[in-house]
């Protein structure tokens, strides 16, 4: 819950409300698909993300 509040706070601060549907969709669908794999270290040649 705290994280959701923080994300909302960030969207308000940056006035990037258009990102909200993208983030929500990703959290809902992406969460289901990806929760079982991955780690915080990105698999990329140059860790831009």
């Amino acid at each position: 819950m705290e994280s959701i509040k923080e994300i909302w706070g960030y969207l308000r601060e940056r006035k990037k409300y258009w990102l909200l549907p993208i983030i929500l969709t990703m959290l809902l669908f992406g969460g289901l698909i990806f929760l079982t794999s991955g780690s915080a270290i990105a698999p990329f040649i140059y860790t831009l993300f």
């Binding site: 705290e2 923080e6 940056r14 990703m26 270290i41 990329f44 831009l48």
Partner: protein, 619 residues
């Protein structure tokens, strides 16, 4: 209320932890030194445990933990970049998002979980200063200046890739910012990739390769023009746009589209570890010169905007010591100070400083010296720890009661052509070994460069070595009057020490040029007569200074070859046990740890079950 702050950088590359107590740096270390995995990006559990131990603290003693970037802002950049380039980048999007949805979007929770796992109590409040503010803070707050222009340049943080700022007392103001995808760091990395070196670790190899390039050829001139006209749109103020048709990194899984670059430059992308031919040296020189030009323009703009006599630098590009040397030589500023841990590891320090001076609004005092304590901020070990290692390996050694005598004897061994592992005091913070975890040699020895590269470090033969020189003697050897304690400036060897080049030198092969004796200190004189200098100050590192002084007493030369205590792909050694292991695996002749001297010929036979060379990925 507690006045201690823990700074952390993690999850991208070079994770690190720093402890500040009342604004003073107590300890700082990179995680790679503990896990023995170079550029380790994982959460720095070992480094956090170490810095808290060093300060005699637990989590309860901290008033805040400061993480070195803002995850939401970075996520915003990712989403907007993918949106901008869609439908390109789907594959990259799909590989990036799982880690964000699962963990990085919930960074505060992730950090709390990791910190609690360490078992040193409940972590306090976590702060998230911006990535480039962390870099700026790591450059300005420990610098010896009360006010200064600040320049930070790296690959990318959240959005920013370059910032110009102004530091005054305990405040930092960002005056200008260049955003992703237009990045000098990533431009340099794209060339690193094209020349067959590893991105994010091989950049310094490209820098070392550049002096082999021939600036008098048509090919070089044409390539430099391609970089400035086709790949970039460079403006007078140092800002630039990259032509993203020629770069993949925003949405792809490589740095650049090989086919387009091959068409542009007319040479194939170099395969890693393959032979280095002249075209790659020329291309390295071309991008190096363009980088220098951009950095110079940014510094000029910083001077104009900040109206300051001093400059401080941080960010990965600030480790380009050739560019730093050119900037210093230009004389734009009265003095320049560069954060020794300029890469992401230094972000942990900057984040901690940001919390102290900006969040807590604590005053800053400047003493005329920087606050980095010579960057000797890592773990130190005593005589008992060394004795334990000697016992464990049944290793004969000689213990000296008199340190001066140890220096005299070590200087004699160096003069005789021996290569010596030198392990003293606390480990360095940042990528350079500065005389506490170093391998040393005689710079006058014509065979030393070859021996160190091929028999000790097991690395590419073309790579140059750096000198450590007594601070008071710098001007005797180099065209440089400033001190350079962190090996961050390249300057020319003095003309009177140079040997004239033979006819046709420029046309010779790489190794023909490399092995020509260019000066009376050939082991540290690069092919363009330059050297990456470390000046050693008696009060900052007395033991190392004494050794160089003893060498000077014997030979008349107050300078040594200094390379980091590791083999290729290995993080610099941290403990006496790692130092002994590295000593035994290589053809190093002696190991001096604390007051103990280990002679290779007297050591028991070294047997390892596995092939240790496979322990480390090539860098």
């Amino acid at each position: 209320m507690a006045t201690n702050i823990l700074g952390i950088s993690a999850y991208y590359h070079d994770s690190a932890a720093v402890l500040l107590a009342d604004g003073e740096i107590i300890a700082a270390a990179q995680e790679e030194r503990f896990t023995r995995k170079k550029h380790d990006p994982s959460f720095p559990s070992n480094a956090v445990r170490y810095v808290l131990d060093e300060g005699g603290m637990e989590m309860d003693d901290l008033c805040a933990i400061s993480f070195y970037d803002k995850p939401y802002l970075k996520f915003e950049r990712l989403l907007e970049t993918y949106h901008e380039f869609a439908p390109k980048g789907l594959k990259s999007f799909l590989s990036a998002m799982p880690v964000w949805i699962k963990e990085k979007l919930f960074m505060r929770k992730l950090l709390n979980v990791e910190l609690e796992k360490i078992g040193m109590g409940k972590p306090p409040r976590i702060l998230f200063p911006e990535h480039h503010l962390s870099h700026a803070a790591s450059a300005f707050f420990p610098s010896p200046f009360d006010e200064a222009a600040i320049v930070t340049i790296d690959g990318v943080g959240e959005w920013a890739t370059t910032t110009i700022g102004h530091g005054q007392a305990n405040l930092i103001t960002i005056l200008r910012q260049l955003d992703f995808p237009h990045s000098l760091g990533l431009l340099y990395s794209a060339f690193t990739y094209y020349c067959g070196f590893k991105v994010n670790s091989g950049e310094y190899k490209l820098m070392g390769l550049a002096p082999y390039g021939n600036p008098n050829t048509e090919r070089f001139k044409k390539w430099k023009e391609i970089i400035t006209n086709e790949l970039t749109d460079l403006r007078e103020d140092g800002s630039f746009l990259l032509n993203m048709d020629f770069f993949n990194y925003a949405t792809g899984l490589t740095m650049c589209p090989e086919d387009k670059w091959e068409k542009l430059f007319g040479i194939p992308m170099r395969k890693p570890e393959s032979e280095l031919s002249q075209p790659y040296m020329d291309i390295a020189l071309a991008i190096q010169q363009v980088t220098e030009e951009v950095v110079l323009r940014i510094a000029e703009t910083a001077k104009q905007l900040a109206q300051s006599r001093y400059l401080v630098l941080a960010g990965g590009v600030a480790l380009n010591c050739v560019s730093n040397g050119k900037l210093l030589e230009k004389g734009l500023f009265e003095d320049i100070w560069i954060q020794p841990a300029s890469g992401d590891a230094g972000g942990a320090l900057g984040a901690a400083y940001t919390a102290w001076h900006i969040w807590r609004n604590k005053e800053r005092t400047v003493s005329g010296m920087d606050s980095m304590k010579g960057a000797y901020l890592g773990p130190g070990f005593g005589a008992d720890d060394i004795r334990k290692v000697a016992r464990k390996y049944d290793a004969p050694q000689k213990e000296y009661q008199d340190f001066d005598q140890l220096c005299t004897d070590t200087a004699r061994l160096l003069e005789q052509g021996n290569v010596i592992g030198w392990f003293q005091g606390r480990m360095e913070y940042g990528p350079r070994a500065l005389g506490n975890r170093s391998i040393l040699g005689d710079p006058r020895n014509p065979e030393m460069q070859r021996k160190l590269n091929l028999k000790i470090k097991y690395r590419e033969g073309f790579r140059p070595f750096a000198p450590s020189v007594m601070e008071e003697d710098i001007a005797e050897y180099f065209k440089l009057n400033n001190s350079t304690p962190y090996m961050l400036f390249v300057a020319p060897v003095r003309e009177e020490r140079r040997n004239p080049l033979p006819d046709g030198y420029d046309q010779g092969g790489l190794y023909e040029r490399l092995y020509f004796q260019r000066s009376d200190i050939p082991a540290i004189t690069h092919v363009d007569y330059s050297a990456r200098i470390q000046s050693v100050n008696k009060s900052t590192n007395e033991k190392y200074w004494k050794l160089i002084n003893a060498f000077k007493t014997r030979t008349g030369y107050g300078v040594l070859v200094n390379t980091s205590f590791n083999v290729r792909g290995e993080p610099i050694v941290c403990t006496p046990s790692e130092a002994y292991t590295c000593f035994m695996r290589t053809e190093m002749d002696y190991l001096v740890m604390g007051r103990f001297c280990f002679e290779k010929s007297r050591q028991p036979e070294w047997n390892e079950k596995s092939r240790w060379q496979e322990e480390y990925d090539l860098d």
